[in-house]
Assembly symmetry: C2
């Protein structure tokens, strides 16, 4: 692997030039996904710079999400994750599926093994943003259901749903296993038919906690999808806040025109 030399006259700082060289090598395909980058020691020898300078160059690429470093092993060109195309939940609902059932259906199509862990259910005051969406008065309680979805054992999504306590009471929603059909089936059993829902999609960099839960490498953004479901009377009955690894998802929507 022959990287060029530094241009000590120009105003582009050395650490950026080194990062440029490495980035170019990746883009030319000289460094394939999974390959190990030159070690810090090698960069120091090649470019005659201090250790921190070499590290800063690698840090640049890490921030761009092109490489991941593993202590004791080296720095590696990132493997592009197999991307799962996720149809909007609208279509899953046609089959009376939600939550894990929808996720499992997706798994069957895409060929990964689905699982869920860290399910927790509690009763609490909702965060202000959620309270507004649910159009609840202050001091109203909600049932909070949080869980994490995994594909082939790797976490890809966390979801937290909020349901007004007066709606959740008398159903199995507050149990860990909501039974076949998930919470929507439970709601409909109560005679509370769903009418429509909205989805809001945005993206941002993950918080430290989200990086931990989703085992994200630095530089991976997350997709935020907030779904609000309304019953026939127009009352919001559920807010579901999901955080998906952007490296693992493409959301797919399909519309009739006109």
């Amino acid at each position: 692997m022959a990287f060029g030399a530094l241009d000590r006259t120009g105003d582009r700082p050395p650490y950026r030039q080194i990062a440029d060289h490495l980035r170019a090598a990746i883009e030319r395909g000289e460094l394939q996904p999974g390959d190990k980058l030159p070690s810090e020691a090698a960069l120091i020898r090649h470019y005659h710079v201090a250790r921190m300078t070499a590290r800063q160059a690698v840090q640049e690429l890490r921030g761009e999400g092109r490489v991941v470093s593993e202590q004791g092993r080296g720095v590696f060109v990132r493997q592009p994750l197999p991307v799962r195309r996720l149809a909007s939940e609208r279509f899953a609902r046609r089959h009376r599926e939600a939550g894990l059932a929808a996720f499992s259906a997706e798994a069957a199509k895409s060929g990964f093994t689905p699982s869920v862990d860290q399910i927790e259910v509690s009763r609490a005051l909702p965060p202000p943003e959620v309270r507004t969406r649910l159009r609840l008065p202050e001091e109203s309680f909600v049932v909070v259901r949080s869980r994490r979805y995994l594909a082939d054992g790797r976490p890809v999504e966390t979801a937290v749903s909020y349901i007004p306590a007066d709606i959740a009471d008398g159903t199995r929603i507050a149990e860990l296993d909501t039974g076949p059909g998930g919470i929507y089936a439970q709601l409909e059993e109560m005679g509370d038919a769903l009418d429509r829902f909205t989805e809001e999609v945005s993206a941002r960099m993950p918080t430290a906690a989200e990086r931990r839960w989703l085992d994200l490498s630095p530089g991976t953004p997350v997709i935020i999808l907030v779904r609000t479901a309304f019953d026939v009377s127009g009352r919001p009955v559920e807010v579901c806040d999901t955080v998906k690894s952007a490296a693992a998802y493409v959301l797919e929507y399909d519309f009739p025109a006109g």
Copy 2:
């Protein structure tokens, strides 16, 4: 501003602890958007650490996109951009609007001043991914229309659409101004009625070029929306590839249930 002291016994490294303190101050609202963080010198005095350690803490927050630094001035809590809720183009189409017209309609609702620049139209071979989506044989040409949308003069989105040359020919699509109703109206005038379209939403970190075009501060991801339109015969007639600043957008979808 009183930040705590470092826990020199635990295994959480000092630079992370400092970052935690600053992050918490931002989340508690003690540091409002636009506020200046303590200077490097102040952090050094307060925590009794070396310069690089203080910088590393700030670097952590910069990577998360929470702060931006300006040489010679300081490090500032990032101003959240006014977020525009963007309804799916489906609804705009009800009013026979697309492209700039749809963007202008959104502007009227949200109260920003819309504009478009850098419009370019050319005829070229499509990139492989686009060729596949359009189900074109090799060597088929497409008409490429690229443009950039601005809100209040700040770039928020770039869009590139690809239309098979045989469809675009004989319409005004290859002109810079496609006239009222945009390309969809042009297509329908040709008797080529649209039937449905799909949207694929994903997110990632921007390339260097995208950072330039959209004037993104480091740490802002972009939302990628690829829309494919099909006519009544099921033939794909347009692929539109848009890159939106994630700081500026929330996509909104609305579905009837069932």
